[in-house]
Symmetry: C2
């Protein structure tokens, strides 16, 4: 029996994601499909449009067998760290083949990963962003540029796979139809980008999304409050106003001086300014929108350096849901799994391993109105 792994955000789960699952089932009809999904805050530094339980349910109904939450400290990260966090978890869950979408599915991601394995971390130029520097160095190593978002993620997965001893066969799937940043919904198609779908959801045009998402997704989206940075901006602004420079400095990944700039740029903002207005005021050649948006999540949820260190050295797996096939698989892998598999939040783990995810859930719930972790059991699906 084949075990297929997928790293996803499902923000929200749409027909493109369904197509990926169908491709996996077509190739491996008896596959168990295991997904590591971001929780309530996502890789690009934004809140999920609906909470992790809703998105996990959408995925399980569509055919995923096991879905686990990628801890926030791996989630709200540049691609390389995001990928490594997810790959380690999927390795523990016995994944054999890693499926991922790519703009260029013909690339040899393994070979590319070999050549660029040492490209990461500190770049010394102060007038370019991390992302720009990364792409520049990758281009130098490969002789051609990799600049499409899914290709870059695929490369990050391949590098992470190499780093943990290559447990996976890499299976790129050609991304169809929608570009990652394409914000229009095309009437003749059934697949659109998640961004285009979210754009309609935020404007309360749920009906516009009907053609592009499975029915179960459509129904949950219509019933739920759609969340965006607009719902957290007041809280973030309040946090920045009441935090001292020292308070901000002890948070994860705050470069020297940035704490000052982030607070200072609040002052001239109008009282009705938006999250975007603030980010644009803080932005520079060195600090991209996405980097700052990730930091905004760090500040909103108050993720400290200590939190990240603790979770990196004590990784865990948080189970969100499973099918009956998934349950059999979990029973099989848990013997050899060296990470604790957490099925519910209790008094002890919410103050230890799970402290950041629990806090993130509580913050998210202030906007969504739906309690996230206490008394929640994993979703079971026959």
């Amino acid at each position: 029996m084949t075990v297929v792994g997928i790293i996803a955000e499902y923000n929200p789960f749409h027909n493109g994601h369904l197509y990926q699952l169908e491709q996996a089932r077509a190739k491996f009809p008896d596959a168990t499909i295991v997904v590591a999904m971001s929780g309530n805050f996502l890789e690009r530094g934004e809140p999920a449009c609906v909470d992790k339980w809703t998105r996990a349910r959408q995925a399980i109904i569509a055919g995923v067998d096991v879905i686990v939450e990628l801890p926030l400290v791996f989630c709200v990260q540049p691609a390389d760290r995001f990928a490594l966090g997810a790959v380690k978890i999927l390795k523990q869950l016995g994944v054999e083949k890693l499926f991922f979408g790519a703009e260029h599915a013909t690339y040899d991601f393994n070979a590319m990963a070999q050549k660029t394995l040492d490209v990461h971390g500190d770049f010394s130029k102060y007038n370019e962003s991390y992302a720009a520097a990364y792409q520049r160095v990758v281009q130098e190593k490969l002789g051609y540029s990799v600049d499409q978002p899914n290709d870059l993620l695929g490369l990050a997965y391949a590098k992470a796979n190499l780093r943990v001893g290559s447990p996976f066969e890499m299976v790129p799937l050609q991304r169809v139809v929608a570009g990652h940043h394409d914000l229009t919904l095309k009437k003749t198609q059934r697949i659109a980008s998640a961004s285009a779908i979210r754009k309609q959801l935020v404007m309360h045009n749920e009906t516009e999304t009907r053609n592009y998402v499975p029915l179960a997704t459509y129904e949950t989206l219509s019933a739920q409050k759609i969340v965006s940075w607009a719902n957290f901006w007041l809280l973030l602004r309040y946090q920045l106003e009441t935090s001292s420079l020292g308070d901000i400095r002890r948070l994860y990944d705050v470069s020297a001086g940035l704490e000052y700039r982030m607070k200072q740029q609040l002052e001239p903002l109008a009282k009705d300014a938006t999250f975007d207005d603030w980010i644009k005021a803080v932005k520079s050649k060195r600090y991209t929108y996405t980097r700052l948006a990730r930091l905004a999540v760090t500040i909103l949820v108050q993720v400290t350096n200590e939190d990240v260190r603790k979770i990196e050295t004590n990784p865990y797996i948080r189970l969100l849901g499973f099918s009956s096939r998934g349950q059999l698989h979990l029973n099989k892998v848990k013997k050899n799994c060296s990470y604790p598999i957490i099925v519910k939040v209790d008094k002890k783990n919410k103050e230890n391993l799970l402290c950041v995810d629990y806090r993130a859930g509580n913050v998210y719930a202030l906007a969504s109105g739906v309690s996230q972790d206490l008394k929640r059991a994993p979703i079971r699906f026959q």
Copy 2:
């Protein structure tokens, strides 16, 4: 020329306050009236219904000559500390006669103060509140109970006056008509309690308040957003959710164990619970509603022990407004005033002396929508 001092909150300025000013002018027609007023958060642990500038303007139009802001660290305090902070400031401003309302204006407040001067601070019983213990010990010393709010404040002023060398003659004025906690507006009267007026304001019944406030107050109240704890509850809840126990412990006056109880009582609360629901869940015989509400302001504005110590050892006077008579008086007293008189917020003082008041203003502005301190000059009135 007589200098009359008043300690006030003006939440909002109403006909009862006007009556007090008229009494002072009747007795001393040439008096300069100097007021120390709470800023945006008040003695009983609540946000002011309208901001300090609006309330200062209401008072100046009604005849106050100099109005200064009582720093938040003296403001959101039990009566004795509130009184001492205000009395010290009024002494620096050359006040000779301290006017205050009392339920029993015939009391000899000086004599009562002599007998109870040492009643303050730690009471060891754990099953009664500070307020209850204080009243019990005062009753033992005097032979009769003092339990009306304005009498208790008057006693606190008299004790503070003794402590700073009795610079003031104490002038109690019989409180007329409205009881402090009377929440009804009586059509045949022109004076109502501030609580009764606020109750109507919060329900958007400004027109109901017309008979009980001066016209200038009425006009500003109709034009302004009325603020209450409801406007800050989301922020406070967010702050509590994201603060560690250690974060809360370093704040001012958090007794051991209370930080745990305050966080713990959030968990069972419904997502649509109110500030009141939370306070009532945390409340006990030992911790009264008011004590907890004050702590809530401390947490909301993140006032640390260090902040309070810094301001107590470096007191200052923040000028909110003055009349032309007030200006002459200020010119006269400033030579002998040993506290710095701050007329505007600048880069330096907002990070030092004024840091707490500036932060409180920024937090308040998140709800009121009106910037509080930057680029504001004292109100001048001919």
